[in-house]
Symmetry: C2
Subunit: 270 residues, 2 copies
């Protein structure tokens, strides 16, 4: 079994993959979210793993767009804690001059940096792994997941330096085909309104869910790229697409001139 994931080696996505598949897979790092989808579509890999939402930063737009545009399904999800670490060649952290990291990691650790290493130069790079590679002298450090330590031979100086302790990211497992689930499941769909949007259009889209007592767990809007300032809606809800109440709800929505893309039903990770 081969699994594509958002790389490079040492990303939080790799940790999510290893947790979900219990390390029983050949892992293929990809440079972008698009490349993970492409790898699954091209049958280079059996499954793909991409981030979809962070508890602090919100949705990963690139993943949402690809889910709509590509012929791919969701067969699972996993949430992992985002534990940002400060890593360096040496164990002393009081002499750090340059700190390398992705801008998002700097943003997530702003308070800790101000309190602990306020005089250091923060040098943004394009990935945390690139930051780890740049750590060369004893006054350099980088920020990122703990697995950077073993991949790039660095010491972990401090763990859990992110400002919000409860920082978590949710990842999706992608496949070329839908899988059926029997356990407690959730379903993901995208609704693309075809009619000209008007007052209360989202309100009326949500009405069939309310009428059929279906619990929504998530709603996210994304621009329709071919029509300015029009939106599609990504909706997650409890239950399986084979449930009668859900079939009825989706039928009602489609009958009101809305297109639905079913992304899949899968076991919910709470």
């Amino acid at each position: 079994m081969t699994i594509a994931y958002l790389g490079p080696k040492g990303t939080f996505t790799e940790i999510a993959l290893s947790t979900y598949f219990n390390n029983e897979a050949v892992k293929i790092p990809k440079p972008s979210i698009e490349d993970v989808f492409q790898s699954v579509i091209d049958q280079e890999s059996t499954y793909g793993v991409v981030p979809v939402e962070n508890s602090i930063e919100g949705a990963v737009n690139n993943t949402l767009d690809q889910l709509l545009e590509r012929d791919i399904y969701v067969i699972g999800e996993i949430k992992i804690p985002i534990n940002q670490c400060l890593l360096a060649k040496n164990i002393q952290s009081n002499e750090i001059i340059n700190v390398y990291s992705h801008p998002q990691s700097f943003a997530q650790c702003r308070k800790w940096i101000n309190d602990n290493i306020p005089k250091s130069n923060l040098i943004p790079v394009l990935s945390n792994s690139e930051g780890a590679i740049k750590v060369k002298s004893s006054t350099d450090a980088c920020i990122g997941p703990n697995i950077l330590s073993s991949y790039y031979n660095l010491n972990i100086i401090q763990t859990n330096i992110q400002d919000f302790r409860n920082n978590e990211t949710r990842f999706l497992i992608l496949s070329r085909s839908m899988e059926s689930v029997t356990s407690k499941s959730k379903t993901s769909i995208v609704i693309i309104p075809q009619a000209e949007s008007k007052s209360g259009s989202l309100y009326s889209l949500l009405k069939p869910f309310s009428d059929n007592n279906i619990n929504l767990t998530r709603i996210e809007s994304r621009p329709v790229k071919t029509k300015n300032w029009k939106y599609s809606f990504y909706i997650d809800f409890e239950g399986n697409y084979e449930d009668e109440a859900i079939k009825k709800t989706l039928n009602t929505i489609q009958q009101s001139d809305n297109e639905i893309k079913l992304l899949g039903s899968y076991k919910s990770h709470n």
Copy 2:
């Protein structure tokens, strides 16, 4: 009048600022969206200009988060077309080897790049202005707005190379105090549900707008950073916060244990 904006010099935000204020202002570039908000709060500048939404890429999350967290108001908006250009020292583009740009600009021009300069090396940098500075030899080029040409002494080789011709970005004008408007206006608020969220909570939040015939123009959700997997809702709608129907709607929402932050009413830019 001094106005802070998301820099560095030569960004689309600077073009938005110059268009909105007719070039009658001292412009202060800031390295981040947070710094623009801070400059207005510190009274270093009269107003601030930040991007809030792109017609293809969607919401600018950083701006949404700052609007909720900071003591600041919205007094205007402006939409400008995003015209990505290829710029270089020389006018010939068939010898380009290295192209520098922000990853988002590469993403917006993917099709044009594949069709026209498929063999070039795409080198991601942290801003389009940084890309312009890196253009040194005759085989280098960069991607970004046309004003990079005058700031960095480059020739525009091709204009409008973005994949979606209708690419536009909406910017907000920020102020320390609310301003009253009489012309055709819209209002922006954030709703922060206080009760435990349950099935149909967004549906019931939207009901008072529907009951009072208020046209929603935009709804966006963002994570509540202190509570995992809970969300606040950013809602734009037609009308002024002094209108009776709107006062009534907001009252109804507040009475159902929801906090509301009023961001302001301002002239809508269509």
